[in-house]
Each structure stands twice: as structure tokens, then as C-alpha cells.
């Protein structure tokens, strides 16, 4: 048995294709991104090594910092919206008839491509013919805003389709986690006279904590690398007011042909995502121990 199961040739045959692929498509590019960032390069001609110039320029680039700020703002919105999703999942898991159907309906937007979602919401948010402003006008709002054209509103307006797209996904995860909690715990608490709110707060919430941590990481890191929807809906506009890190990188590399600077942004994005993952894990881990102690 052991001899058969430690056949080196077979192991190599099974593992190497995928391993080489992931090294070539994920790991080598990551190293190269860091290296390209040290060069001045238009993507076609020869590279010129310039050391950390791109990175120091990046640190002084207020456009980059504003795009990073926008990404961060979206991450905060996303993390906050998790509370709403959790409440809805709690409601759904309260042994309601039709919970399954609701859960499926909620999930539908998640299955559609970001491009289709972006195009649809461009129409919904259209200043004169969009459904949102038609509704607002019929409710007596005189001059509803041109959502995506207002620098102060555009990020909030973009967050509506993001909410719409991911609601079902997070509700589904929370619902699955809550359903995994043994009903005996809830029943025992009920007999002891606990109210539904107490059960939700004192029993369900702590037991779903592991999953909640995962979703915080998913939501924050997901928002930091948000791209498709913003690229299609505003392309970073008006006047850079909805530019995020990934779209800024894309513009620098594939529109301004500054591949070195684009790579520096890409490398920064990688570091930020990894650090964010690590920090959130640390933070949520310490919270957890406080709760159980």
C-alpha cells in the first residue's frame, strides 16, 4: 500500500502540471511586478532601471492616495453592510416558510457579470431617464442628483450596485453558518427564558464568529481590488473622484503606457491586500478571545 501510494513518478505527474501553471501565472508575475516597478518602461521598448524612483513618486502622488482612499472607503462601506446582511440572514434562519426561495432570489445578481450589472445600473442611475430619479421625482423631489456625475456622490452611487450584487452572496454564507448551529442550543436557551434577540446576540453571533471573520476579510480585500464595475460605470470619473487603486493601475499601464509606474501600483496593491488580510485576522482573533474569556 505505502509503496504504491508514494510512487514519485505518479505524484510528479499529478502535481507538476498545476504547480508549474500556478508558478508561471501567479507567482512569477508577482515577482516581476515588483521588478518592473523598479524600471521605466512603456511596455514595448527596452526597460531602464531606475531603482525606487517609481515607488518614491508613488508616495508623493496625490492621485494615487486619493484612489487608495476611495478603495478604503468602499472597503469600510462593504464591511458595514455585512451587519445588514447578517441581520437579514438571522431573520431568514428563524424557521420562516419560504426561506429557501428568498435565499435563492437574493443570490441572482451575484451570478451576473459585473459588466452587465454596470450597464444595467448606468441606466438605473441615469440622471433624466433612469428609474431611480423617476421614482424620486414622483415622490416630489424636484432636482434629483445626477448620481454618477457628482464628485461627492459618485462613490455612494457606485456602492448601490455593489450592495445589490453581493447581498445574496453574504446572506447565503451567513445563512449556511447559522443553519449549522445545533438547534438544541437554541431550544435550551428558550427553555431558560431567553428572547429571540438574546439568542441571536449571545448564542448565534459568537458561534458564527469564524465565518464572520472570513466574510470581513472577503469584503475588505474584495473592495480593495474592486475594478470591473467602476471601470465600466465611471472609469474613475468624474475627474478622478471614483478612481480606485486597480483602475489607477490600469490607467497608468494600459492607457498612459507607463508600465513601470503601473507595476509599482500593482505591487503596492498586493502588499495592501496581504497586509489587510493579516491585520483583519489579528484584530478579529483578539476580539474572539475576549468574547470567550
Amino acid at each position: 500500500m505505502d509503496k504504491v501510494m508514494s510512487n514519485k513518478k505518479i505524484i510528479a505527474l499529478y502535481v507538476l502540471p498545476s504547480l508549474l501553471l500556478i508558478l508561471a501565472i501567479v507567482y512569477i508575475p508577482i515577482v516581476l511586478t515588483g521588478y518592473y516597478g523598479l524600471n521605466e518602461w512603456n511596455g514595448i521598448g527596452s526597460m531602464k532601471f531606475i531603482g525606487f524612483d517609481n515607488y518614491s513618486a508613488l508616495i508623493k502622488d496625490h492621485l494615487f492616495w486619493s484612489s487608495a482612499g476611495h478603495s478604503l472607503l468602499l472597503a469600510v462601506f462593504s464591511a458595514l453592510s455585512l451587519i445588514v446582511y447578517l441581520v437579514i440572514a438571522m431573520v431568514l434562519s428563524a424557521k420562516l416558510k419560504g426561506a429557501n426561495l428568498f435565499r435563492k432570489i437574493y443570490l441572482i445578481p451575484m451570478l451576473l457579470s459585473s459588466v452587465a450589472i454596470a450597464q444595467l445600473w448606468l441606466k438605473i442611475l441615469h440622471p433624466t431617464n433612469g428609474i431611480l430619479n423617476s421614482i424620486l421625482e414622483s415622490l416630489g423631489v424636484d432636482n434629483p442628483p445626477a448620481w454618477l456625475a457628482e464628485p461627492n456622490l459618485v462613490l455612494f452611487a457606485l456602492f448601490i450596485p455593489i450592495l445589490w450584487q453581493y447581498a445574496g452572496f453574504y446572506i447565503l454564507i451567513y445563512y449556511a453558518a447559522l443553519k449549522n448551529i445545533p438547534t438544541s442550543l437554541e431550544e435550551a436557551a428558550k427553555i431558560d427564558g431567553a428572547t429571540s434577540l438574546q439568542i441571536a446576540y449571545k448564542i448565534k453571533l459568537p458561534l458564527a464568529m469564524e465565518v464572520i471573520k472570513v466574510t470581513i476579510v472577503l469584503a475588505v480585500v474584495g473592495s480593495l481590488k474592486y475594478f470591473d464595475l467602476i471601470y465600466v460605470m465611471t472609469d474613475g470619473g468624474p475627474n478622478g473622484s471614483s478612481e480606485v487603486m486597480a483602475s489607477y493601475m490600469y490607467h497608468q499601464a494600459f492607457k498612459s503606457y507607463d508600465f513601470g509606474y503601473g507595476s509599482a501600483i500593482g505591487f503596492f496593491l498586493l502588499i495592501i491586500c496581504l497586509v489587510a488580510t493579516w491585520v483583519i485576522r489579528k484584530l478579529t482573533a483578539s476580539k474572539d478571545t475576549i468574547q470567550y474569556s
Binding site: M5, P17, V91, I105, P109, I135, A253
Partner: protein
């Protein structure tokens, strides 16, 4: 009645009060759930409506009015005027090839990691798991120049390789738990009968994991079907574009014809909606399984 009596037997008033409050509570809960459902479905219903209207109807009739004479010609127009059929077929075959490759290669790796004995299996597993945290965007520029060097820019293989690599970690992650739970006895018996590892994997293990293969397959299909940034960056000629990018460019030509835009969008999302109608349980299960990464 029954619960009323039971409540009274257990010392009543508390029970009945919570029953009445419970009813109001349930109504409130349903109102919340229905409000969310309306928010999730309403944009799609509106899309369907305006895809069947002409511009005059879109702009002059109340937005929620049903199309009086459904303009099915919107659909005919966009299907025959652009390359939607080409994009559609590209999406289908690229999605299928990438999905099958990911699931088969992922199964082989997971099998070697969970069932076979070798040094470094943990390290390899770690490499796959860490890759899950790496943002696609950070690899985009080097991938572009690498594919450019080996003449894979504007070639579907660049998409397939990228899809397989980036979906491999989540696929392995879902498969792992399943493989760990497979009973060892089956393999032991097979080895005693003189089965080779290959026979064991393809004839015994793969069929045993068919349900989780379906789950990972569905996750992969949804990701691949909707992928945007790789197609947008790597592919330039119309004959290789997939639906997401094709739709995006196509709509650019119809910025003012809302009916045509609506029809194009409906065509691009219809396959997913139909699949959802038939496979919703599997899809829900697949997404739930895929989400527990991290």
C-alpha cells in the same frame, strides 16, 4: 388550539403573550424579506421591460409600465447586427475548456496531497492556498508582457491558462475536505486487487467525488463566464472576444437606443438565469462551499 393548551399547562400567560407578539414579529420579518427581494429583482424586471420598448416608450411612458407592443425586433436587431453570436460561442467553449481543465487538474493535485505520501505536500498545498489571496490585478502587467513574448496575446489560450491558474486554489480548497473524508478502505482493497494509482484515481476516486466535482464545476463556470479584466486586456480581435467584453463594446455603439441595450443585456444574462432556474440548489450549494475560503 393545541399549542394554546400546551402553553396554559406550562403556566400560560408568558406563552400566549409571546405567541401574539410572535405573529406581529413574523409579519415584520416577512416585510423585511420581501423588501430585500424586491430590491434584488426589481432592476431585472425593469430591464426586461425596457428591452421590449422603443426609445419613445422608454422616455415617455411611466418607467414601470408594461411594454404595450413588445418590440421583439430589439432582440433580432442586436443578435444579427453585432457579433453577439460569436462572443456567445467563445464564452461557451472557453468556459467549458477552462472549467474541465481546472476540475481535473485540481482533482489530481488534491488526490496527491490528501491520499499519497510525499515530502513537501504541505508546502505545495501552502503555495496553492496563499495564491488565493493574490489580487489578479497585481499580475496583469507581467502576464500581458509574458503572453506578448510567447505570442499568446489575442489568443484564447492566454485566457484559458489564466482562468485555470486563478481558479485552481479555490477548486482545491473545496475538494480538500471531501478527499480527506473519503474512506481509506476502498483504496486499500483496490491496491490488494492489483489496481494501479491511475486506475484507482480515474475509476474509483473520480466517480466517488462526482457531486463535489459538480459543485466546483459550477463555481468555475460562473467565474469564467463573467470574467472581464483578462479578456479586456489580452484579447483585441472580435473573433476571440467573450460575451462580457463583447457586450461592453457593443453597447458603446448604441448609447442612446435603450431598447437595443436592454436586449443585449438580456441576451448576456439569460443563459445564467436559465441555468439558475434548473440548477439553483447546486448553484447555492456551490457558492456556499466556495465562499468558506480565507
Amino acid at each position: 388550539m393545541m399549542s394554546g393548551t400546551a402553553g396554559q399547562l406550562k403556566g400560560g400567560s408568558v406563552k400566549t403573550r409571546s405567541g401574539a407578539a410572535g405573529k406581529i414579529g413574523y409579519v415584520v420579518l416577512y416585510i423585511i424579506l420581501i423588501a430585500v427581494a424586491v430590491f434584488q429583482l426589481f432592476p431585472l424586471v425593469w430591464l426586461l421591460f425596457f428591452s421590449l420598448k422603443n426609445n419613445q416608450e422608454v422616455f415617455n411612458l411611466p418607467p414601470l409600465s408594461l411594454p404595450t407592443h413588445p418590440h421583439w425586433e430589439n432582440y433580432k436587431k442586436v443578435w444579427s447586427a453585432g457579433n453577439i453570436d460569436v462572443y456567445f460561442l467563445n464564452s461557451v467553449w472557453i468556459t467549458i475548456v477552462a472549467t474541465v481543465l481546472t476540475v481535473v487538474l485540481g482533482s489530481l493535485v488534491t488526490y496527491a496531497i490528501t491520499r499519497m505520501k510525499w515530502k513537501g505536500s504541505n508546502l505545495v498545498l501552502g503555495l496553492f492556498m496563499v495564491a488565493m489571496m493574490i489580487p489578479v490585478h497585481s499580475t496583469l502587467i507581467p502576464l500581458f508582457s509574458m503572453f506578448n513574448k510567447i505570442h499568446l496575446i489575442d489568443h484564447p489560450l492566454s485566457l484559458i491558462l489564466s482562468y485555470v491558474a486563478f481558479n485552481m486554489p479555490i477548486t482545491i480548497m473545496i475538494l480538500l475536505g471531501f478527499y480527506y473524508a473519503l474512506p481509506k478502505e476502498v483504496e486499500e482493497a483496490a491496491v490488494l486487487d492489483g489496481c494501479s494509482v491511475n486506475q484507482m484515481f480515474f475509476r474509483i476516486v473520480l466517480p466517488m467525488t462526482s457531486s463535489v466535482l459538480a459543485t466546483t464545476g459550477i463555481i468555475n463556470m460562473i467565474y469564467n463566464w463573467n470574467e472581464f479584466i483578462f479578456v479586456n486586456t489580452f484579447i483585441s480581435s472580435d473573433k476571440f472576444k467573450t460575451l462580457t467584453v463583447g457586450v461592453q463594446n457593443f453597447i458603446g455603439q448604441y448609447t442612446t437606443d435603450w431598447g437595443a441595450i436592454g436586449a443585449t443585456l438580456m441576451i448576456s444574462i439569460l443563459p445564467i438565469l436559465i441555468a439558475f432556474l434548473f440548477l439553483s440548489d447546486r448553484i447555492v450549494e456551490g457558492i456556499a462551499a466556495g465562499s468558506v475560503k480565507g
